[in-house]
């Protein structure tokens, strides 16, 4: 069974600084997708970034980038120039290439200090 582990229950970052959230996963599949979702207190789950496992190039979306290490089954999220609006719960999620469901980690609470 696929599992996703987020080992950091909570992280803090100073405004304008950089923070990295960790995620590891366990799978025997070779083709899959990885995602980072953000859930603010308003509770709407928002897609931050996605990565296809067959692509070696790390995905980037503005201030958000990932470090995808397929052999190590690691998928960390880096947030640069952190803003107060980045404060939220961040979830790492996995989906096999031809599957239906997302498998989520337990989440990391990110606090941004002004």
């Amino acid at each position: 069974a696929q599992t996703v582990t987020q080992s950091q229950p909570e992280m803090s970052v100073q405004e304008a600084e950089t923070v990295t959230l960790s995620c590891t996963y366990d799978t025997s599949e070779s083709d899959y997708y990885l995602f980072w979702y953000k859930q603010p207190p308003s509770r709407q789950m928002i897609l931050v970034i996605r990565q296809e496992a067959y692509k070696q190039q790390n995905a980037t979306e503005n201030r958000f980038s990932v470090n995808f290490q397929k052999a190590a089954k690691s998928f960390s999220l880096k947030i640069s120039d952190s803003q107060l609006g980045d404060a939220a719960m961040y979830f790492c999620a996995y989906r096999i290439q031809y599957g239906n469901k997302l498998v989520f980690g337990a989440g990391t609470i990110l606090r941004v200090k002004s």
Partner: protein, 115 residues
């Protein structure tokens, strides 16, 4: 372009009752997935519908059932409610064809409290 919508936003029920939650997918999407998110935890997959049929099911009892309508909207029904069913229920939609079929877009959720 309307995103995923869910109703109601909040609901309070008592043990043993039945509840129906509703979801309208994002425009252009025909696949709907339902997730249960207990407080402080990640969402857990309940099931997915497309072409009006349940396609995959997570580890949830038969008390949880669903339906998808011809307009792609969906309902989640929970019978014989237990205290442990208290959670945020999230609906997510995705397209079956075209770009980004692997990405699911979430609605704001329905908060269910069972007393």
């Amino acid at each position: 372009d309307a995103g995923v919508t869910q109703s109601p936003t909040h609901l309070i029920k008592t043990r043993g009752q039945q509840v129906t939650l509703r979801c309208s997918p994002k425009s252009g999407h025909d696949t709907v997935s339902w997730y249960q998110q207990a407080l402080g935890q990640g969402p857990q997959f309940i099931f997915q519908y497309y072409e009006e049929e349940e396609r995959q099911r997570g580890n949830f009892p038969d008390r949880f059932s669903g339906h998808q309508f011809p307009n792609y909207s969906s309902e989640l029904n929970v019978n014989a409610l237990l205290l442990g069913d208290s959670a945020l229920y999230l609906c997510a939609s995705s397209p079956r064809a075209g770009e980004a079929t692997e990405t699911q877009y979430f609605g704001p959720g329905t908060r269910l409290l069972v007393l």
